[in-house]
């Protein structure tokens, strides 16, 4: 599947009735197997853009085209698990067609085997995030949407989950769209980085990363980051 996004304008009305434009002239397309990353300052409208792509918000000018039967897997900023169902039930409810082998592989990849029968209320934020990632992948998505999946985790946890997400993204030919404000995450996971401005958000720069994800060691990542810094100051 191919994802094409064109948002001409998206505005909110505040309580006083004033109109605030959050997104302006954002257009990009992603091919299967490609990971796009949206980077921008907090509050610039990244999450709003993801909600439009996911079909949760229809009140905007422009269009998002994806095949009608696209399966979407989404990791929200907060895990949004069903607190009254166990970890395993949460996955099974979201992905009724997933078989035991598929679920076992996911639980193993994300080190969740010990927590299958726990309720979400008994999990730490890091664990709940991993369950949310597992749920998004259990539906075998054509479009994977990640909204700051590594936010507010400590460095060690974030690094580990980043690695796990990287290998899971490699394992399926899907379109992945991620939002982050962390350059490190963007460089490690993305194939194309879209730098967004402050409100109303526009795309300032698009940086493709050609090196395959699994070949990106610390040296390559430092190099890419330096290159991005040079482009930013050069403008």
């Amino acid at each position: 599947m191919q994802l094409e996004v064109h948002v001409a304008s998206k505005a909110f009305k505040n309580a006083a009735g004033e109109r605030h434009e959050v997104l302006k002239d954002i257009a990009f397309a992603l091919k299967p197997g490609e990971t796009g990353v949206l980077i921008g300052p907090s509050g610039c409208g990244k999450t709003t853009l993801l909600r439009i792509v996911a079909g949760l918000d229809h009140d905007y000018q422009g269009h998002v085209s994806r095949p009608p039967q696209t399966r979407i897997g989404m990791v929200f900023q907060e895990p949004r698990l069903l607190p009254w169902r166990s970890v395993e039930q949460n996955l099974r409810i979201a992905a009724p067609q997933a078989d035991e082998a598929k679920l076992s592989a996911l639980f193993a990849a994300l080190e969740l085997n010990a927590h299958r029968s726990h309720f979400p209320g008994e999990l730490s934020l890091g664990l709940a995030r991993r369950v949310a990632v597992a749920r998004a992948l259990a539906v075998e998505p054509d479009l994977l949407i990640l909204d700051e999946p590594l936010a507010s985790l400590d460095d060690a946890l974030a690094t580990r989950l980043r690695g796990q997400i990287a290998s899971l993204v490699e394992s399926r030919p899907m379109v992945t769209l991620m939002v982050t404000h962390d350059l490190e995450d963007a460089v490690c996971l993305g194939d194309r980085l879209f730098f967004l401005s402050a409100r109303p958000a526009r795309i300032l720069d698009v940086v493709p990363i050609c090196a395959p994800r699994r070949l990106r060691g610390e040296a390559e990542i430092a190099l890419i980051k330096a290159e991005i810094a040079r482009r930013a100051t050069g403008e």
Binding site: A54, R71, G73, F76, R80, L82, I93, E122, V139
Partner: protein, 244 residues
């Protein structure tokens, strides 16, 4: 602890009956004798059974309609606008008015009695469920939309668990209301049931018989609360952290 509180009740009753005189308040053994006589003749069970059947039917009817209408009014703004004046009217309509009108319009029938009881309970169930529906978490609704949950799956796994405490609350308060109203309905227009027997006892000034029925009825209510309602609530809140 429950036994202790029961013993305290009986002691208080006995002392009060000594002070007031057994004509006004018969002591426990006299009432127990009345209970046994009624149980021997089978009348106690017939009447309790008739009352319980009415309670069960009216409760089921009012809960089903109340949950459906309350959910609808909580979700759909126009339904709420249309239904709200009716709801306020029903909420404040005295039970006696509903019962008397039901008997006048539908005759002294079983259907009229059950409908009248259900109508008395219906508005509180609607109000509770409407509040519950308004409190549904929009974040989880979005999750269900993003993951393309079918309607049935979303209702069963996302909506219903959030409504469960409200349904339990509506059931609790509704059951208490029905216990009270069913006797009035029986007193006014049924030839059997606990309410009818209490009416008879009242006319004959037979205080032991009156207390025999009142207390047997109270015992049944207590048993249903401990055996059915409370375990059900515990099961529903199993996922919550223990302290709550």
């Amino acid at each position: 602890m429950r036994l202790l509180s029961l013993a305290l009740f009986i002691v208080t009753w006995w002392v009060a009956s000594l002070l007031a005189g057994s004509a006004k308040l018969p002591p426990p053994p006299a009432v127990l004798a009345a209970v046994i006589t009624e149980a021997r003749s089978g009348a106690l069970f017939v009447n309790l059974g008739a009352t319980l059947a009415r309670v069960a039917l009216a409760f089921a009817l009012a809960m089903t309609l109340g949950v459906a209408i309350g959910y609808w009014m909580g979700r759909v703004r126009i339904a709420n606008r249309l239904g709200d004046p009716w709801l306020i009217l029903l909420l404040n309509l005295p039970a006696l008015v509903v019962i008397v009108l039901a008997y006048i319009w539908a005759g002294l029938t079983e259907a009229a009695a059950i409908a009248a009881i259900a109508i008395n309970k219906l508005p509180t169930a609607i109000v509770t469920l409407r509040e519950g529906t308004r409190a549904l978490d929009p974040a989880l609704d979005e999750m269900a939309t993003a993951f393309a949950f079918t309607r049935g799956r979303a209702f069963r796994h996302v909506v219903l668990p959030q409504l469960a405490p409200y349904i339990a609350a509506a059931a609790r308060s509704g059951l208490a209301l029905i216990w009270k109203i069913v006797l009035v309905a029986e007193l006014l227009g049924r030839p059997n049931g606990v309410g009818f027997e209490i009416g008879v006892a009242f006319q004959l000034f037979d205080i032991p018989l009156l207390l025999a029925y009142a207390l047997s009825f109270g015992a049944v209510v207590l048993v249903i609360e401990t055996v059915l309602v409370q375990p059900f609530e515990v099961k529903l809140s199993r996922w919550r952290p223990r302290a709550a």
